[in-house]
């Protein structure tokens, strides 16, 4: 878990202490200055003495990353129907946590970024793969679906079955850079409704 000590903002001002080395006149000036600085700190997030970054660990904790992804999705998907995506992600994460199943934080971040950038897509079925990555599927009927697996790496997996004339089904299994995956899928007739 990474560490960045922070100003104890939830404490009240009753615990403020002053250093001894100030004279009384200085102390008054200093008190005013401190008050003004506090406002500034709150507004500009300038660390004070208590918040010297110790940077004890560069490791980035997984629950915090998952939270960031969930929060970003709640902010971008603010209507009740759209909230089903972060709601589902939260439920999946909690189930995985309870069962001690790993969940790839990079996959969750990629998933969140994708849906924040493409808010017009229909609500997919969201599942967790045995590898701990997120997979989403838009199922339109038998032999008719589009699925994306968020690997957490630059290339995402695309799987699709698309009905063709004469009762045939085209099957696609490929990888694409996440930025291009919608374009590539739509080019072969995949739907995200």
């Amino acid at each position: 878990m990474s560490y960045a000590p922070s100003y104890s903002g939830l404490l009240t001002e009753m615990n403020v202490i002053e250093p001894f080395f100030l004279t009384q006149a200085e102390a008054i000036e200093r008190a005013i200055e401190i008050k003004e600085k506090k406002k500034l700190i709150a507004r500009q997030q300038i660390p004070n003495v208590q918040s010297m970054p110790l940077n004890l660990s560069a490791e980035y904790p997984s629950p915090q990353r998952i939270f960031n992804a969930i929060q970003a999705l709640y902010q971008s998907h603010n209507s009740p129907p759209a909230r089903q995506i972060p709601d589902r992600l939260t439920a999946l994460y909690r189930d995985a946590y309870a069962e001690n199943q790993s969940i790839v934080a990079d996959s969750v971040s990629q998933f969140a970024d994708f849906f924040r950038n493409h808010r017009d897509l229909g609500l997919p079925k969201i599942t967790l793969t045995p590898d701990g990555t997120l997979r989403v599927r838009w199922i339109h009927g038998p032999g008719n679906f589009t699925a994306i697996e968020f690997t957490g790496k630059p290339l995402a997996k695309l799987v699709a079955e698309i009905p063709r004339e004469g009762g045939l089904t085209a099957r696609y299994f490929t990888t694409e850079p996440i930025e291009n995956i919608l374009t590539a899928a739509r080019a072969v007739g995949a739907s995200f409704a």
Binding site: L10, T12, I17, P19, F67, T90
Partner: protein, 272 residues
């Protein structure tokens, strides 16, 4: 500080005269966008008999690693950002703090009331939290997906039988003894700020800060021992938060015992 006479198999020590001046319990969660300024008055009305004093403060902003600088959580259509609200009782001993993405409860030492011990503060916290949670649900929001929990103790250690000058502060807080011994006729110790952080597990850090100065209210010399636990419950849930607070309290308790001198614990704070 805290702790109980033989609490359910843990064997903690409670003190008769703990040096605790303030305890704060806080939970941060996904911002409640349904919460608007007009709702705050309705909520206050529901607790006003117990907490008749209301004040506004700037919201506490917490920074998540890998994220842009923290901003005040705003809601669609809002003209002015929602501040943090303080609701306190007449004695100012209990303070509820609410902002769009957080709920906090502080116990503060008043002139007459004794310390209710952690169990009492925690009980008050969850009781008030439950009431607020129901209120938020009533306006269509939810207090879910926990981002961070914080538990903070501020201990004020005034000069006592074991120390009367900064040079003797090490008698109470042995970890800073070497710094305090530098105080002599030629150089006087006039300020101290020692910060350390301990990782107890992946989701729990405890930070200790030892300071020397004078109280801003009474101007009396004082040593401050601030112990702050912070972390994210592994499953990001409120149930996980409750378990996290128990672990955090245990971690703070043990750190307090380790940081303070055993004789001072026995003779000044006095185990019950």
């Amino acid at each position: 500080m805290t702790q109980g006479q033989e609490i359910a198999g843990i064997g903690r020590v409670k003190f008769e005269r703990p040096p605790i001046n303030e305890v704060a319990i806080g939970v941060y969660y996904v911002p409640v966008t349904e919460l608007r300024a007009e709702h705050i008055g309705i909520y206050w009305d529901s607790i006003r008999k117990r907490y008749p004093i209301c004040e506004q403060r700037f919201p506490v902003l917490i920074q998540s690693e890998g994220q842009p600088p923290a901003m005040i959580a705003e809601a669609p259509g809002e003209i002015f950002p929602l501040p943090r609200f303080w609701f306190s009782n007449n004695a100012h001993s209990i303070l509820i703090q609410i902002q769009r993405n957080a709920f906090m409860l502080n116990w503060r030492r008043g002139s007459s009331e004794g310390y209710p011990h952690y169990e009492g503060v925690e009980k008050d916290f969850w009781q008030e939290f439950e009431g607020y949670k129901n209120f938020v649900q009533g306006i269509g929001g939810k207090l879910d997906v926990v981002q961070r929990c914080e538990l903070t103790y501020v201990n004020f250690i005034s000069p006592n039988a074991f120390f009367s000058s900064p040079a003797e502060l090490g008698n109470v807080l042995p970890s800073v003894a070497s710094l305090c011994k530098m105080h002599d006729e030629e150089r006087k110790l006039v300020g101290l700020n020692a910060l350390a952080a301990y990782q107890l597990n992946d989701n729990l850090l405890v930070e200790s800060a030892i300071k020397w100065g004078k109280r801003s209210d009474t101007k009396e010399p004082v040593a401050v021992l601030e112990l702050k636990a912070q972390g994210t419950p592994g499953d990001l849930s409120l149930i996980g938060a409750a378990a996290w607070f128990k672990a955090a309290h245990n971690g703070i308790y043990k750190l307090f015992l380790s940081l303070t001198d055993e004789e001072v614990q026995k003779q000044v704070w006095r185990p019950l």
